[in-house]
């Protein structure tokens, strides 16, 4: 009797495993080809001195990695990435949350705002890049014109190494805030309406409801939003590439633009791969540490 039961359970387990393997296979194969293999290949390529096109590669072991560690350009790029990361999280998530809250409280009559605010996310980064390059132009751009009304001179935001990075971050925030708005709107719909009603019946104001009830319920979403924003910022490429090309000088150089330049413009594929590998390690580390911190708080 007992033996039969065990075998039944085993049978079911085996079936489950088979089905699981079957269903996971497509994703696993795609991941292996397009994610895991390139990553491994990147690390292999990073041990060669190679211009990217010649048949002969020269094995130099950890030579590229040594150079990378001592390469001030790469660390400047990493620092710029960190600046983008911190500011993106500090700006996009609060504004996104504020907009979502406003829309959630306002209901259907605010649909028009919902649509308007969502538009930036629908535009391609390249189009946004061109748009803002014109809007921020020194001669006849938006900021210069407004400064002119108040008697100020032309303002050069993108050409000045001190302001270029901040300016680009503002544009990045303009583009991605709507994403977090939508993200938090979805999170709001997950809070049952009964909770809101119950709170109101107990005499809570809207403000109290938000701070005491909705906000704590939204914290998990905020955590994952922060991680999304973080990873996105660390691998950022397109808007910078279009708007400043990493310039002036190296003031807006990011790890990704640096990698691109090394690999394709300066025929340094081996070193470019080391940069890509370095990015991979740094991003993984930063993500893991942040998640550890965030989850640690949850338990406390």
């Amino acid at each position: 009797m007992g033996g039969k039961e065990i075998s039944l359970e085993k049978l079911r387990q085996r079936d489950t495993r088979r089905v699981a393997a079957l269903f996971l296979a497509p994703v696993a194969i795609l991941m292996a080809i397009y994610v895991i293999y390139p990553i491994i290949d990147t690390f292999i390529t990073s041990t060669y001195q190679w211009n990217g096109i010649s048949a002969g590669k020269k094995f130099i072991g950890i030579g590229n990695w040594k150079t990378l560690l001592a390469d001030s350009s790469f660390w400047i790029a990493f620092r710029n990435n960190l600046v983008i990361m911190v500011l993106s999280i500090c700006i996009q998530i609060p504004i996104g949350l504020a907009l979502a809250t406003f829309l959630d409280f306002g209901g259907k009559k605010l649909t028009v705002f919902k649509v308007i605010w969502f538009i930036p996310l629908l535009m391609s980064s390249v189009a946004i890049g061109f748009l803002f390059t014109y809007a921020l132009a020194t001669n006849g751009g938006l900021v210069s014109t407004i400064s002119g009304w108040f008697g100020g001179g032309n303002v050069d935001l993108l050409g000045n190494p001190k302001t270029a990075l901040l300016t680009v971050i503002m544009v990045i925030c303009w583009q991605f805030t709507p994403f977090y708005m939508v993200y938090f709107m979805a999170a709001f719909t997950n809070i049952p309406y009964d909770v809101f009603e119950a709170a109101r019946i107990d005499g809570a104001t809207r403000g109290q409801y938000f701070w005491k009830i909705a906000f704590p319920l939204l914290v998990p979403s905020m955590k994952s939003a922060a991680i999304l924003s973080m990873v996105g910022s660390l691998k950022y490429f397109d808007l910078i590439y279009v708007m400043t090309g990493g310039g002036p000088g190296t003031s807006t150089e990011l790890m990704a633009t640096y990698m691109y330049k090394q690999s394709f413009s300066t025929f340094n594929m081996g070193y470019g791969s080391a940069v890509a590998g370095g990015m991979f390690i740094l991003i993984s580390m930063v993500s893991l540490i942040t998640m550890k911190l965030l989850n640690g708080k949850e338990e406390a």
């Binding site: 990553i39 990217g52 050409g159 090309g245 691109y260 991979f280």
Partner: protein
């Protein structure tokens, strides 16, 4: 368990996010991209088929028409039995596409490029065949300008056929404006600075420059350096016998900064974009008086407004009085597009024949009609445009013509040059610092090469 899953998820998410980048970094993995439009073609071509795949940047008229004309002429007249298939790619992505194609073994049989550093890199990697024998036996040997052939030569072998355009850097100016303020074309740098001061006094920006593109500012720098010290310091520095911190380079950088401080360039010069036409706009609005750039600008002006083009004059960069450098030296390209060959034997002969067709009289006439200056001898007699004639005259009289630094130098050095110079324009680096960075890049390059 949940936490481990979260960790796993996070890792795989990070991995997925970076995968696109990693795919770029790993040379082999990019092959799908490069082969997409013509991989099949070139694959079959290298398999002994009678098809020659020819990559170029002729996506728009008139370049497209010129190439089509030459290729069609070859396909209809040739007795070699080969046919050429032209695969045009948009300019901006062309270099990357070529690199990806080469790394994945899909290099086309013949391709067009800009000569200089990248071309040497292709040749060193085995994607360019010397064509000395074919070239010496061909009539284009006597037809092409010597300076064009020298820009197609590497390590004493001819590797490429230049065909498209002569482009010299020089200064375009607004003739009406010069008349109004009683200015005339300068003979010396001091004259030029007087002109700038006069324009500045009248609230006109002396030079229209859009330097977010970086190579545009390099035009000023290259000319200044050549006038201060000739080409010898540059050639020596490239060969590893001299330094980029030579006097003439430092002086050129200091002059640039002097001009920036004097307000000779527009506000926010480093954020203006050449690709968006922000330099020429200043010329059209007549808020700037002069523009130093390659002579392809004649075509740009003429196409944008024939009326405005009437107002434009041109002069080569003036001499510097206290310097004994030869003022006839020009900075520019003699050919612009150079066809390089990646095939052998009969196929190479056929491909070369096709390249020759680019310099056929009929094709040359067609190019001239479209405002190009093919790099062939006696071309001046075919030209009608007065500025173009002046440009060719300057090129013919030049004792030497140096290809643009950013094109000529090894790519890593070129990048160091452009980045550093942009900061010199932005006054955030001294010329000395910028040149030291450039020299360091050169040292690294030479050290790597020697290994």
């Amino acid at each position: 368990m949940k936490r481990r899953m979260a960790k796993l998820m996070a890792l795989s998410m990070a991995a997925a996010m970076i995968a696109s980048l990693a795919a770029c970094g790993g040379g082999d993995s990019g092959s799908g991209d490069g082969g997409s439009s013509s991989g099949g073609d070139s694959g079959s071509a290298s398999g002994g088929d009678k098809e020659i795949v020819y990559w170029n940047i002729g996506t728009e008229s008139p370049d497209k028409d010129v190439i089509t004309k030459a290729v069609e002429k070859f396909n209809s007249e040739t007795e070699s039995g080969y046919t050429v298939t032209s695969v045009p790619t948009q300019n901006d992505t062309y270099k990357e596409k070529l690199v990806v194609a080469m790394s994945s073994g899909e290099c086309p049989d013949m391709y067009s490029c800009w000569s200089g550093g990248p071309m040497y890199e292709y040749i060193d990697s085995g994607f360019g065949q010397p064509i000395d024998d074919l070239f010496n036996a061909s009539e284009i040997k006597d037809k092409l300008m010597e300076s064009a052939v020298s820009q197609a030569t590497y390590n004493d072998h001819v590797y490429a056929v230049p065909y498209q355009n002569i482009s010299m850097s020089g200064i375009f100016y607004n003739k009406e404006m010069f008349d109004k303020y009683k200015l005339k074309e300068p003979e010396t740098l001091a004259d030029l600075e007087n002109i700038c001061d006069t324009l500045k006094k009248n609230d006109i920006t002396p030079f229209a420059l859009a330097n977010s593109s970086k190579w545009t500012g390099s035009m000023y720098y290259m000319n200044l350096a050549a006038r201060y010290g000739g080409l010898e310091p540059f050639q020596k520095a490239v060969a590893g016998e001299g330094k980029f911190t030579d006097d003439c380079f430092i002086k050129a950088g200091e002059k640039v900064q002097e001009w920036v401080e004097a307000g000779y360039f527009p506000d926010g010069v480093n954020s203006l974009s050449e690709d968006d036409g922000q330099a020429k706009q200043l010329m059209y609005q007549e808020t700037a008086g002069m523009l130093l750039c390659g002579s392809w600008y004649t075509g740009t002006f003429a196409t944008d407004s024939a009326e405005f083009y009437e107002k434009i004059g041109w002069f080569p960069f003036p001499a510097i009085e206290e310097s004994d450098a030869d003022p006839s030296i020009m900075i520019g390209t003699v050919g612009d597009q150079f066809i390089v060959f990646n095939c052998e034997g009969e196929k190479l002969e056929a491909a070369f024949e096709c390249a020759e067709k680019h310099l056929d009289e009929e094709v040359i006439d067609f190019e001239v009609e479209n405002g190009k200056i093919p790099p062939v001898q006696g071309i001046e007699s075919k030209l009608t445009d007065s500025i173009t004639k002046e440009v060719v005259e300057a090129a013919n009289n030049a004792s030497e013509i140096q290809l643009w630094y950013d094109q000529y130098l090894p790519p890593a050095v070129a990048t160091a040059h452009l980045d550093g110079l942009q900061e010199v324009f932005g006054l955030t680096k001294t010329p000395q610092e910028a040149q030291e960075a450039m020299q360091k890049a050169m040292d690294d390059y030479l050290a790597n090469k020697a290994e």
